[in-house]
């Protein structure tokens, strides 16, 4: 079942990208700025997109409950900031602290998803949605002590946006930054992303990774072959949650702010859209889909901003982004449905 050629979403997004490149050229937006930022944005969002792969491979579907992983990552980041650890060490500490949370939350999340086989996507969406207000309780009463994170008046409850400038903002972005012909290439950041991709690739080469793929391909055969399906699915969910937690750490350092409260509510949708643009179709998901998809998707995001500003209607960029995001997800849902319908 190997698909060859360009599907409608890819065609559409490439067409859109060319159109916007043309506009950007007309509006004299410098090309080297676009490329530099595109590289940063690839990794900034790429890790979050990468987190969808294990669950897709295991046949659980798109992880619309990405906020669960994101919140684990935010907890780790807040702990790191609370201890005022600076620089790369602070980021690493944040990632390290978030992993136990991600494993614990992922375990519970997996328990839920194993109960709702066949309806994972919709349940995941609402588990993610309902987890956000639950965590809002925690954020507004959190026992953190660093005054940079708390409301300036009253000194209780976390701020919705925490600046990381004096901690580890852009720590990974600026690691081994090289300027080649006016384009700033963040080698450290790209290496980090490459390493994560490689690790995940190698994981799917191990016995356990093969078992995971087998469950995704055909659950009944996998069961007959002696694979404990629930356990494998649970590990896929946990892995997705952990990578999601790392993803938000990378995102926050790149963005320069930790965003709490309702900010992660809609994070799953652009990520899902990116991986679908890359050519992922359910179980047939490869790491390369993540890289291509994130690059194409995030570059259109990136260029649409300044163009809309030039055209004097700044809201257009945001509306277009949302429209593209949801149109791509809808296309994927209908395309897969049409396929299974034909099979019946």
């Amino acid at each position: 079942m190997k698909r060859v050629g360009v599907q409608i979403p890819q065609f559409f997004i490439i067409f859109f990208l060319i159109l916007m490149m043309f506009l950007a050229f007309r509006l004299e937006i410098p090309l080297n700025w676009i490329i530099s930022d595109a590289l940063v944005r690839l990794v900034m969002n790429g890790v979050l997109v990468l987190s969808l792969v294990p669950m897709l491979r295991a046949g659980i579907g798109i992880n619309f409950g990405l906020p669960v992983g994101v919140i684990a990552g935010l907890l780790g980041l807040c702990m790191s900031v609370n201890m005022s650890i600076k620089g790369l060490l602070g980021l690493s500490a944040g990632i390290l602290f978030s992993i136990p949370f991600a494993v614990a939350l992922g375990y519970g999340y997996a328990g839920i998803l194993n109960r709702v086989k066949g309806k994972e996507e919709i349940t995941a969406t609402f588990v993610g949605f309902s987890f956000i207000p639950l965590m809002n309780f925690f954020w507004s009463t959190a026992p953190f002590t660093n005054p940079a994170m708390l409301w300036p008046i009253g000194g209780k409850g976390m701020r919705p946006v925490i600046g990381l400038k004096s901690y580890f903002a852009k720590a990974l972005n600026q690691l081994w930054m090289v300027e080649i012909a006016g384009v700033r290439v963040p080698i450290g950041l790209l290496l980090f992303f490459g390493m994560l991709c490689l690790l995940l690739f190698l994981f799917f080469r191990t016995n356990f990774g093969r078992a995971l793929k087998a469950v995704g391909e055909n659950e009944q055969f996998a069961g007959l072959a002696g694979i404990n399906i629930s356990r494998v699915r649970a590990w896929a969910v946990i892995l997705s949650t952990v990578i999601g937690a790392i993803g938000i750490c990378v995102y926050a350092q790149s963005y320069g702010f930790i965003e709490l409260y309702d900010a992660p509510l809609m994070m799953a949708f652009p990520a899902a859209s990116a991986i679908l643009v890359g050519g992922s179709m359910g179980r047939h998901t490869h790491i390369i889909h993540v890289v291509i998809g994130t690059f194409l998707f995030q570059t259109t995001y990136l260029i649409s901003g300044p163009i809309a500003n030039e055209l004097m209607i700044p809201e257009v960029a945001e509306i277009f982004r949302l429209m593209i995001t949801n149109a791509i997800i809808l296309y994927a849902l209908l395309y897969e449905g049409g396929k299974s319908h034909a099979a019946v």
């Binding site: 209607i313 257009v316 949302l322 209908l334 449905g337």
Partner: protein, 362 residues
């Protein structure tokens, strides 16, 4: 067995959700220290505003398509009609005529499209309807924030933003305010009862009851039970499912017209927000599941869910000294109820399928 009517589930499972809601509402009401009259008035208002919207969910659930989150599209159709009425500066009667005509035509059209989409996405209807709702919202925003003033020329300059492109966030509907909701207004002490509006909501409920009793309603029920069975009986499954979605979108559109007219202002870009989530949560709070829903679930659900919604911020303020906590609690209840219902329903389904299998074996 003979205690139960024919065709009814001989072992109806007790649903704990309404009871939990009742306990929560009562506790929050106690701590909020609000007067009973105020809460009753608010609940009646919400009943009129959201009642029809909740009823719109019933038909697709019984047709086995789950919760139709794309009722938001119906709401958008109503808003399009309202904006057009304001644009052409129509009076109360002609305006209402235009609003309902535009709304009905648009919602039938979009209902057919949604139905065709959902026929391609069988068994994943709910997630598809959510995405359709998001997509429709952005298309709507694009039309009214960008299209108006560039492609579409408005006749009423008052509702436009000062830059000449896009409609203002708030459009006043003064000519429609208090046109229908003050008719037959009764007062008992401090409680106001707009009888006509309540009768309208009950009228919709009766209509849905009637539809479920007709041939079409029976077809919905059979499809809801099993797609294979319906096909074996010679029912044109795809077409009947489209009818279910068209009915749902249409009712949602009319319900949203009620909602906006009752408020008397149109929040152009955000009035439709969360109507899907709150309606769904209210229906489930009343004891419906994602597989089976009835009019009585809708009515008890609205009362339970909205009384909790009204009192919880004040209760949060009184108990924790922070109204935001009550706010978070509300959102958690709305999303959490849906998540819980989804988890519970698939557990029941599993049991059911096991039962069916054992029956086949024996």
């Amino acid at each position: 067995m003979r205690f139960f009517m024919k065709g009814e589930n001989p072992m109806p499972q007790f649903n704990w959700v309404p009871l939990v809601f009742a306990v929560f509402s009562a506790t929050a009401f106690y701590f909020s220290e609000m007067s009973a009259a105020f809460v009753t008035n608010e609940v009646i208002t919400r009943f009129i505003r959201d009642g029809v919207m909740v009823l719109a969910l019933i038909i697709p659930i019984n047709a086995g398509m789950g919760v139709n989150f794309s009722i938001i599209v119906g709401a958008l159709c109503a808003q399009v009609g309202l904006i057009l009425a304001v644009d052409y500066r129509l009076g109360a009667v002609s305006g209402l005529l235009l609003i309902s005509t535009v709304g009905i035509l648009l919602s039938i059209f979009s209902g057919v499209i949604i139905g065709i989409c959902l026929n391609r996405a069988k068994r994943r209807e709910m997630i598809t309807t959510i995405i359709i709702g998001f997509l429709a919202t952005s298309i709507y925003q694009l039309i009214f924030m960008v299209g108006y003033g560039t492609v579409i020329q408005p006749t009423n300059q008052e509702m436009m933003l000062s830059r000449g492109i896009g409609i203002r966030n708030m459009v006043d509907l003064e000519m429609f305010r208090n046109v229908i909701d003050t008719l037959w207004l009764f007062r008992i002490e401090r409680i106001e009862i707009p009888v006509l509006m309540i009768l309208c909501v009950f009228g919709f409920a009766l209509m849905i009851k009637y539809i479920m009793k007709t041939r079409l309603g029976k077809q919905f029920m059979v499809i809801g039970e099993s797609l294979e069975k319906a096909e074996a009986l010679g029912i044109h499954v795809g077409r009947v499912r489209i009818k279910a979605i068209v009915a749902s979108t249409l009712i949602a559109c009319l319900g949203h017209i009620f909602y906006i007219l009752n408020i008397g202002m149109l929040d152009v870009y955000t009035a439709q927000m969360n109507t899907d989530i709150f309606s769904c949560a209210a229906l489930l709070a009343g004891g419906a599941t994602v597989l089976k829903a009835d009019v009585r679930h809708a009515f008890s659900g609205i009362v339970l869910f909205h009384s909790l919604f009204i009192v919880s911020p004040q209760a949060g303020q009184n108990v924790f000294g922070n109204p935001a906590l009550g706010e978070y609690f509300r959102s958690f209840v709305a999303y959490g109820t849906i998540a819980f219902a989804l988890i519970i329903s698939s557990k029941n389904q599993e049991k059911l399928s096991i039962k069916e299998k054992t029956v086949k074996v024996t």
